[in-house]
Symmetry: D2
Amino acid sequence: MTNAQAMLDTYPRTFNVDAQLLAATIDVIVDCASTCTQCADACLSERNAGELAKCIRLNLDCADVCTTTARVVSRQTDYDANVTRAVLDACIATCRSCGDECSQHADHMAHCDICSRACRRCEQACRDLLGAIS
Amino acid sequence: MTNAQAMLDTYPRTFNVDAQLLAATIDVIVDCASTCTQCADACLSERNAGELAKCIRLNLDCADVCTTTARVVSRQTDYDANVTRAVLDACIATCRSCGDECSQHADHMAHCDICSRACRRCEQACRDLLGAIS
Amino acid sequence: MTNAQAMLDTYPRTFNVDAQLLAATIDVIVDCASTCTQCADACLSERNAGELAKCIRLNLDCADVCTTTARVVSRQTDYDANVTRAVLDACIATCRSCGDECSQHADHMAHCDICSRACRRCEQACRDLLGAIS
Amino acid sequence: MTNAQAMLDTYPRTFNVDAQLLAATIDVIVDCASTCTQCADACLSERNAGELAKCIRLNLDCADVCTTTARVVSRQTDYDANVTRAVLDACIATCRSCGDECSQHADHMAHCDICSRACRRCEQACRDLLGAIS
């Protein structure tokens, strides 16, 4: 249980997107960010870490992009649709690349399996939010 | 439900701290970071936002420090106790200041009430982790 | 003088974009991130901070997006064009919105004047890099 | 040339620390953050990347801690000495560990040589700022 929904319920202004959808999306993006940070670290601890450079690099990108995306969509004050859309697009693209890469290692590294599913879920959640705000 | 525990379960090396404690701590820190981002934004949307400058500023600090702390403690590869301890100390100090400030507005702004409790919980979780790794 | 160019000169693999252009772009993005953090704080300290909520919010977004963009474009290992392009697009959109907002306060708040110019320069630098990598 | 000093010159309130010292410190911390991001990526592209896991991990920690430290010290609004001191302490500890690790590879990897010097400089700059605000 996170505070995302409870915090949106206390927001002092109105907002245009469905609060339940937004809170669920924030939770998914935040968890993807953390999962990617952990996956980068787990890859780095594998004996063949040198062969996982591409995966580690995309995990780091995805952790950074998701962290920023969660912050941007969490802010409701004087919402700017152009910023939100472009940031969600970046999150979708990054989750797709990271999810694709992790899925290639999913059968022999459980952290990449979990991470690829976190990226897929985040990509879809960002698409859904993008659809809801357009 | 986040992936923090599941990801730790797949980590390919051993680690010295209890994995359940660590996963629970990561969840609490990550949620505090998000809550502080939302509290800064909610304060900014209040009609008396100008009087909440101190609260907004500490919310921003706490969001940044918690985000970094969650990342550092999530990394288990070649753990450096000096770094982890100093980062946890910074998180404890920042959560204390932010929690103190938010608690002063808790009776008339529900977001500050939730946020002050998130900060208290995070401060305690960081203390517990610090105790477990020392 | 930053280390961006010197660090690129030591990179152990080849990369496809001009190193001088990339180093200059990193410097511009990193400075825009810092400038936006300072502008949000300066706005928050103005006597009419409550009226600057939109500006503060966009400054915070821009600081986050620029920080992430600088990290993503700094990484050369197994470069993913889809990620880089989408992240640069997000940086361009955010710098445009933040620069537009700050420029409206530029004549009576010097920090917004400096910040609007930092955003314009960053927007252009990201466009130039995007052109060079396409 | 960054905007750090120019932005401090426009800050609408007074502040207790010397503005020139603060601006110079921000520049050093921000550059250390970027240098560590680039060093982690350069290490990841080395043929023996798997042996550099500790260095990469500390580079990532140092990039995160320096990014957060630069943000916290850049904020002057309702300055909280307890937060600033604890965050500077964390930055000092992280720069020391990262600088120590990078210095061990400095003779055969130029990026680690540059990065170790960036960390030493940042550690000293944080100590100087800590001395000035105590």
